[in-house]
Amino acid sequence: MLEFLRRNQTLLTSGLLLVLALILVSSNARTRRFDDPLGAALLEGMRPLQSGVTRATSTLGGIWRQYFALVGLQRENEHLRQRILELERDAVRLGEVEQTNQRFRELLGFRDQLEGPAIAARVVGKDIKLTRSFTLDRGSQDGLRKGMAVLSPYGVVGQILRTSSNTAQVLLITDHNSGIDAVVQRSRARGIIEGALDQGCLLKYIRQGDDVQVGDRVVTSGLDGIFPKGIVVGHITQLHPRSRGQLLSTDVEPAVPFDLVEEVLVVDASVRPRGESAEGTP
């Protein structure tokens, strides 16, 4: 008997415990009071440990959540920064488009002031310091020829020096090889505009005694067979009286800000400002 008990003590103990559990469940189910003094003591004993662990885990959880929140914020921050860059790019592009539109409007307005064919071209290269020339994105295929006049809404830019199929080089009026027949608009005093080395122009070969004053506007005469009549060249900034041959010259500041020009009109000599007669009288 003892041997049986010893051999099956685990099962017997388990059986007793099962009975005990059943009694517990049965009694508590009957009364529905679920009295458990031992359980209450266990809970009380474990409370400090549970509080400590809960505090520690909630702190760690907070750090963890904060970390994820920060990661989320960082992602959002990068996204917003990227968005700002895109918007800035868009703003620059829109500003550029607006300025281009403005220039095109001015060019169209200027084109409307001229009678005859004119070819719009974009300046794709500039060399103002050395040769004082522009390169245009139109060439002989577009009808550009050597010697054609190049104009902008501000006034005279220069003339075509040479062309290729798709490009053309423009000799600016400030180049010392350039020469334009011009008149002082107010007094009709005549002279030749030549480029000066210091980026400006000179109005040369003015007869001594002609009425020329500082501030006078100089326009093309149309007599050189290149530039239409009446296009603004610039205004006189200084007089240089000379005794030789009774001729004088003046400094002329070009009307065209060459470093700002981006689009031009190329015209031939048959073009003239609206309202000008074919004979060249206003």
Partner: protein, 163 residues
């Protein structure tokens, strides 16, 4: 004795973990029953009245902490202990896979024991239907954490034996 004490301490630690940390984990309403794994470990390695007493105590503590009818989980854990104890006497349960299967089956046994008692003594309507939704998933979760828990408990027992 020292081994049993260390297992008891580990059980307390597991209980703390189960009641404080596990609810924070992203398992939703489903949580792996870590105490069940301890009970299975007792059934596999503590073939003595102390093992049975340990299983009963674990169930009783679970009742206290879960607010269940006192004795409900104590009964279920004791049933689990007896089942695992008898199985381990008849079967060779030593590799990891067999232990995982054992935990899975033990989880089902515990669930059915609890449901049986609830049906018998408390006549809760619809409890079977609700419980069936979770029984399998909880068994899988318990089986999934089984190897880790077994390794922890074996290490604890090993330390106890060494000292």
């Amino acid at each position: 004795m020292r081994s049993a004490s260390l297992i008891a301490l580990t059980t307390v630690a597991v209980l703390l973990f189960q009641t404080t940390v596990v609810p924070l984990l992203p398992f939703g309403a489903l949580m792996p029953d870590l105490l069940l794994v301890v009970c299975v470990y007792l059934g596999l390695h503590f073939h003595s009245p102390a093992g049975a007493l340990g299983a009963f105590a674990i169930g009783y503590v679970e009742d206290s902490f879960s607010g269940a009818v006192p004795g409900l989980n104590a009964f279920a854990m004791t049933v689990v202990f007896i089942t695992v104890y008898l199985a381990s006497r008849q079967l060779w349960v030593s590799n990891a896979l067999s232990k995982v299967v054992m935990v899975f089956l033990a989880s089902l046994v515990k669930a059915f024991a609890v449901l049986a008692l609830l049906g018998l003594f408390l006549s809760l309507e619809g409890v079977w239907r609700t419980a069936m939704k979770y029984v399998l998933v909880e068994a899988v979760l318990a089986a999934a954490v089984g190897p880790l828990m077994f390794a922890l408990l074996a290490r604890t027992q090993h330390v106890a034996v060494e000292h």
